[in-house]
């Protein structure tokens, strides 16, 4: 791992395709005596999906908080879009976060804002985009997640699945190159969870967005890994992915803060490791 503060891929536009969007190098974190992560390392390549599995409290969501710079690791390095972020100050992290979208567990929508204001928050408040352009982008992304008619609704008027989809729309509104999903389908019924899964697949395959998905919903994890979105004229379809595409989605399984497994969906299914077998069963 390089020790300079900037890897030779800092610009999204100029980043070579073989350089990782996110890289964790021997990251460790503990709160008092409790070790949350120990020597966790992985790379996320552009346009790929990394799926982090593990039991509750295994440190899955912690990884996302570290990538966003909410917390600092005790040890190790974290690189996002070619810049080392674990040594950055809060003010410097703001520009890094501009290139990342985050979907929180319960959506974390702003109660006092309408769906449209939530989705366009970053464009209205944190960019110089003209209002009309921002408004059209909001309508576009709400159309993408199938909630165009809800633009003036308040979050409290939405169902759980709709809230997650609005959260996805908010995360993608500013066209980030990376989206982090924290238990985006937890607590949803299978049909609604499927619509959320399809949004993740569409963003990855139609918009080229890299993603890290934290979940303990195996069905959703395998669905996202083994399906792809294909465009058919103005429409799109979700179809089973070919072998090469399926291999692009990498699984990481955490156990007590350690990486217990790293590999593709087929390798995960074939694993004989007792902990993984018990998790999959």
């Amino acid at each position: 791992m390089a020790t300079a503060t900037s890897r030779p891929m800092s610009s999204d536009a100029e980043r070579p395709a073989d350089q990782p969007v996110v890289a964790l190098d021997r990251v460790s974190l503990a709160f008092d005596d409790k070790v949350v992560l120990r020597d966790v390392s992985f790379d996320l390549m552009p346009g790929h999906t990394k799926i982090i599995l593990g039991a509750s409290g295994s440190g899955k969501s912690t990884i996302l908080k570290l990538i966003l710079g909410f917390w600092k690791p005790d040890d190790g390095e974290i690189w996002v879009n070619g810049q080392r972020i674990d040594t950055m100050r809060e003010s410097e992290l703001m520009s890094i976060r501009a290139g990342i979208g985050m979907v929180f567990q319960e959506g974390a929508l702003f109660d006092s804002l309408t769906v449209g204001e939530n989705v366009g928050y970053k464009l209205f408040e944190e960019s110089r985009m003209p209002y009309d352009d921002a408004r059209s982008r909001v309508e576009e992304v709400l159309g993408f997640v199938g909630l165009h008619d809800y633009i003036e609704h308040m979050p409290s008027e939405l169902s759980g699945g709709q809230r997650r989809r609005v959260a996805i729309a908010r995360a993608m509104a500013a066209k980030p190159g990376l989206i982090l999903y924290d238990e985006a389908t937890t607590g949803l019924d299978p049909i609604t969870a499927m619509t959320v899964d399809e949004e993740m697949i569409k963003l990855r395959d139609l918009e080229g967005v890299s993603s890290i998905i934290v979940t303990h919903q195996l069905r959703d994890a395998f669905f996202v890994a083994t399906h792809e979105a294909v465009r058919e004229g103005a429409r799109h379809r979700i179809v089973p992915a070919d072998e090469t595409k399926s291999e692009e989605a990498e699984f990481i399984m955490l156990k007590d803060g350690l990486v217990a497994f790293e590999g593709s969906a087929s390798e995960l299914r074939a694993s004989k490791e007792p902990y993984i077998r018990s998790f999959l069963s």
């Binding site: 966003l68 109660d111 944190e126």
Partner: protein, 257 residues
Amino acid sequence: MFRLLQEWSKGAVHEVQEYVFLQGATVRGATSRPYYYRDIVGQFEEIGWGSLTVVLLTGFFTGAVLALQSGLTLDQFGARPFVGRLVSASMIKELGPVLTGLMLAGRVGSGIAAELGSMVVTDQINALRALGTDPVRKLVVPRVLAGFFMCPVLTIIANTVGMVGGWLIAVFQLGVSSGTYWHSVVDGLYHNDAWMGIIKPFCLGFVIVSIGCHVGLGARGGTQGVGRATTNAVVAASVAVIAVDFFLTRLLVTLLY
């Protein structure tokens, strides 16, 4: 026992440290860009206009009861015409700022702690940070500015309606003429009293709102944590109003008189 004391001291020092850090960040946020103008205007309206009714009622009845009580006492010395002097001096120097502060602690301090606490436990604060917004600039700075500038305005209003309340009692209950009352009100006031009455609410407004923000942003543990934060904010802000008033009075008496 010693260990308990040690734990408590550590917790108290940590709390003070966090409060000081937050105030440092607030000062930085208030003196540098970006500013969230809509939020600032919204908070001036929420804290200023929204607290007007409670401040009007409190000020009016305080002035009225002050005239009523002091009228009885002044009668013993044949000094009933001086009731205006007592009302104005008491309201402007002490009761106006303190009672307005206590009302704001109850209404605004609790509201801020509950709102920010809810945002913390539902991840909305983290969502703000993830969207590239500094929560201190967006949420704390507008509230602190509004508290700092609106508390004096509300105090002046409370003082005014308090003297009107005193006037009504003086005229209709104590039989003092309007002219005598208002002449007495003006006679009882000195420049230094006015300075004391205007400096105090700036400090009290800052303290009330900054405590509400600090306690709200420190909320942990779901809805129960939000409830705890709300109670703590009201208790801490109310005690702080009385304590800060004492120390400020001590300081201002030394400096102004």
